[in-house]
């Protein structure tokens, strides 16, 4: 204990401190004696936290010593020492991948610590359970999260200043309203998805730190997408339209486990990536072209994670392969239902066709785009070693009906 500079002499001793003192065998009155000798309550608390016994405290106070030398036990904990990581790629700087060395890079198949301990540090002997529920690497992990985290940070952009707002020019009313309706839906979808990933963060234990860091970039990306879509909708004489349909989002919300959440979102993440990759076809101006391209670049990282996570999951947990069909089928069915919603497909058909008067042509173009979305989705599943033998009937029906004379997109 050190000399206190100017501590008040009359302080209320918290019950927690008294209880701790009793546990350590401090006699009644010893805390008051320490305070009378000029030690602060902070220092008394410090001694209690350090496990100073009643006998030690009594001896120390009796000899009027001023300082109890801490023994710095934490300097001697047997963690891996002597680490000097350096950037492997100077252009990218010091990346997470550079830290994956020795024991610090060992991401265990099962993480057993239930506290918020940083992986690689020396655990406290007794800690409270922080309530994490995900301890298996196979559930959440993909090796690509390590580089993707840094790439996400490198590729960050700002909707306020990185898009050419001043170049916006008035569009025909039907086109402007189609843009606004499409972006109202997309803004809500991005915002909603961000909140869903965010809600799962506290479930994931700290063994999978890098995955949590990557998901944080996903949440931030989706925030920017939602923001940018809203800004565009309010910038050119339009406004927000009808809220997004709720069927698909509800099953995201209803997911009971992380693998279910990831599987359900896989479907939309892949479909939206393809949509934004085709942004040139629906964009009406340079701003929208840039916006969709930036969103596609961000979503590529997310889909990369989705593919690699699923692949790793299926490899480690092959008995859960068939179960995934249930989630994919459910998600495909809900997406197909929403693709038939007029406030979803009509704006896209107008944008693709070039106006309300050309909506039939736009509908045909949309069908091609939907086909590309589904093809890419199936290909992404295949990259993850997952073969969808038959897609959900609602989704298939969209393309089967297209051959009929009065098809809907």
């Amino acid at each position: 204990m050190s000399e206190a500079p100017s501590a008040p002499r009359t302080v209320e001793v918290p019950q927690e401190a008294r209880d701790r003192a009793r546990e350590l065998g401090w006699e009644d009155g010893l805390i008051e004696l320490a305070l009378q000798q000029g030690h602060t309550l902070q220092e008394v608390w410090q001694a209690l936290r350090a496990g100073v016994t009643g006998e030690q405290a009594k001896m120390y106070l009796a000899r009027g010593a001023r300082v109890v030398r801490p023994d710095f036990w934490w300097m001697r904990v047997p963690t891996e020492w002597g680490i000097r990581v350096r950037p492997k790629d100077p252009a990218m700087g010091l990346q997470l991948s550079d830290l994956m060395v020795g024991t610090y890079g060992d991401v265990p198949d099962v993480w057993t610590n239930r506290s918020e301990i940083a992986r690689g540090s020396w655990p406290n002997p007794v800690v409270e359970d922080m309530g994490y529920t995900i301890f298996e690497k196979a559930i959440v992990w993909a090796d690509c999260v390590v580089p993707l985290y840094e790439i996400a940070i490198r590729d960050r952009w700002a909707a306020a200043t990185d898009l050419p707002w001043s170049t916006l020019e008035p569009l025909p009313t039907d086109i402007e309203r189609a843009v606004c309706q499409f972006l109202t839906e997309q803004s809500e979808r991005a915002y909603f998805e961000a909140t869903m990933w965010a809600g799962w963060l506290p479930e994931i234990s700290y063994g999978f730190l890098e995955l949590k860091l990557f998901l944080s970039t996903v949440i931030f990306d989706l925030a920017r997408h939602s923001e940018a879509f809203r800004k565009r909708a309010l910038a050119n004489g339009g406004g927000l339209g009808l809220q997004a349909p709720t069927d698909y989002n509800r099953i995201v919300k209803e997911a009971r486990t992380f693998p279910e959440l990831a599987a359900v979102l896989f479907v939309q993440d892949s479909m939206l990536l393809t949509l934004f990759r085709h942004g040139e076809r629906i964009a009406q101006n340079q701003l929208e072209r840039q916006l969709y391209a930036l969103c596609a670049r961000d979503r590529e990282r997310l889909v990369e994670y989705q593919v690699e996570r699923l692949k790793h999951f299926l490899y480690k947990m092959p008995d859960r392969r068939e179960e995934q069909n249930l989630y994919f089928s459910k998600a495909e069915g809900r997406i197909a239902k929403e693709w038939r919603d007029p406030a979803v497909w009509e704006p896209l058909a107008i944008l693709l066709g070039g106006g309300t008067d050309r909506i039939e042509e736009g509908r045909r173009m949309l069908l091609e785009l939907r086909k590309a979305q589904v093809d890419d989705y199936v290909a992404n599943l295949r990259r993850a070693t997952f073969e969808r033998k038959s897609l959900n009937g609602r989704l298939v029906a969209i393309f089967e009906e297209a051959t009929a004379p009065t098809a809907t997109a």
Binding site: Q15, W74, T79, P87, L94, S121, A160, L213, G239, T246
Partner: protein, 349 residues
């Protein structure tokens, strides 16, 4: 304006969604670009917030009559709102930085063993603390109504900020011949996860915990021994300022609009100040953290006593800045009620 588009029931066109735009918006960018403040217009503005619903319908979007609910979320604006969240979101987006490239890692140089170990111990504690600070807003985001959209967006930037802090302190611990050391104390961190109300969480995390961390970061010139270390603290402090600003203005909004919650908020603080001297900032009185800070502040193990004096100054600064922030938020009477472990550091107003 109500429309209810049919979903593939007929083959004809619906197009009813084309008739929803009787309140056209043409936001123009300001000198800071197209900001959230620039699109805060008419029926889309935060001021025009109507009743919440339990869907994720964004403020200003037209409701679907058949929209399903998604479970409970906050219905009252005061529950989650801060008047500065539009500005803070934009600032957060503009001021993102990269722990990989914006820290001059090349300026790290071998330090005396005691100093390096102390720095690594501090970083071990901070990397632990910072990701709890990312989990916590994650926990609450699903309960923030999309009517209070910008508050939600701000929390998403906070998650990103905390990820970067987690990452930068881990990098620092592994970059200069050291490593991670003893796990920091969890005391106080559980308090943040345990909060059952957004305002409770915000007061404990944004104002108390991040406030204490912020006061520490602002002494980074004393704590850090290399330019890289000092830069880490400066950049992190910049981010923490936004989180604190959100918390202060959220509390102000609550106290301005729901003054009946004052005693309830005191109750949360009574508990938190009693449970741990450092609140949710990670317990700086936990011996490894306390001792590491004293070594860094003093300049070595052999100057530990000088370090203790500076540590006490840090505690004084933490507590008084904390009380000042509460005062700005309208909770000036906290000064008279502050918990015993903090009271000894209170300076006369």
């Amino acid at each position: 304006m109500a429309v209810n588009p049919s979903t593939g029931q007929g083959e004809g066109l619906d197009l009813s969604w084309l008739d929803l735009y009787d309140d056209a918006a043409s936001a123009t960018p300001s000198k800071k670009g197209m900001t959230l403040a620039d699109i805060n217009l008419g029926r889309y503005s935060a001021e025009a917030r109507g009743a919440g619903d339990m869907t994720f319908r964004l403020r200003g979007a037209i409701p679907r009559p058949n929209a399903q609910r998604f479970g409970p979320n906050y219905q009252s604006k005061a529950d989650v709102w801060a008047e500065n969240c539009l500005m803070l979101y934009e600032e957060a987006v503009q001021r993102q930085w990269s722990s990989a490239r914006d820290i001059p890692w090349e300026t790290l140089e071998p330090l005396p063993d005691d100093i390096e170990r102390a720095m690594c111990q501090l970083c071990t504690m901070l990397t632990e603390v910072e990701f709890i600070a990312g989990d916590v807003p994650g926990q609450w985001l699903p309960f923030v109504s999309a009517q209070d959209y910008e508050a939600g967006l701000f929390l998403m930037t906070q998650i990103m900020d905390e990820a970067r802090h987690t990452d930068v302190f881990r990098k620092r611990a592994l970059a200069n011949g050291g490593g991670l050391l003893a796990q920091g104390a969890g005391l106080g961190l559980r308090t943040l996860i345990e909060a059952r109300d957004f305002t409770e969480m915000s007061v404990l995390m944004h104002i108390q915990a991040e406030g204490f961390v912020q006061s520490m970061f602002r002494m980074g010139e004393l704590i850090g021994k290399t330019e890289a270390d000092k830069r880490i603290f400066r950049m992190s402090a910049q981010d923490e300022s936004r989180h604190l600003a959100f918390g202060v203005m959220h509390l102000k909004y609550v106290l301005d609009t729901e003054p009946e919650r004052r005693e309830e908020i005191h109750h949360y603080l009574d508990k938190a100040e009693g449970d741990a001297a450092g609140g949710g900032s990670g317990d700086v009185t936990f011996p490894p953290v306390f001792e590491a800070l004293c070594i860094l502040l003093g300049g070595g193990k052999d100057k530990f006593d000088e370090g203790v004096q500076k540590f006490l100054l840090l505690r004084k600064r933490q507590v008084n800045e904390y009380l000042h922030r509460l005062e700005v938020a309208g909770l000036g009477d906290r000064r008279q009620r502050v918990g015993p472990l903090l009271r000894q550091f209170v300076e006369a107003a």
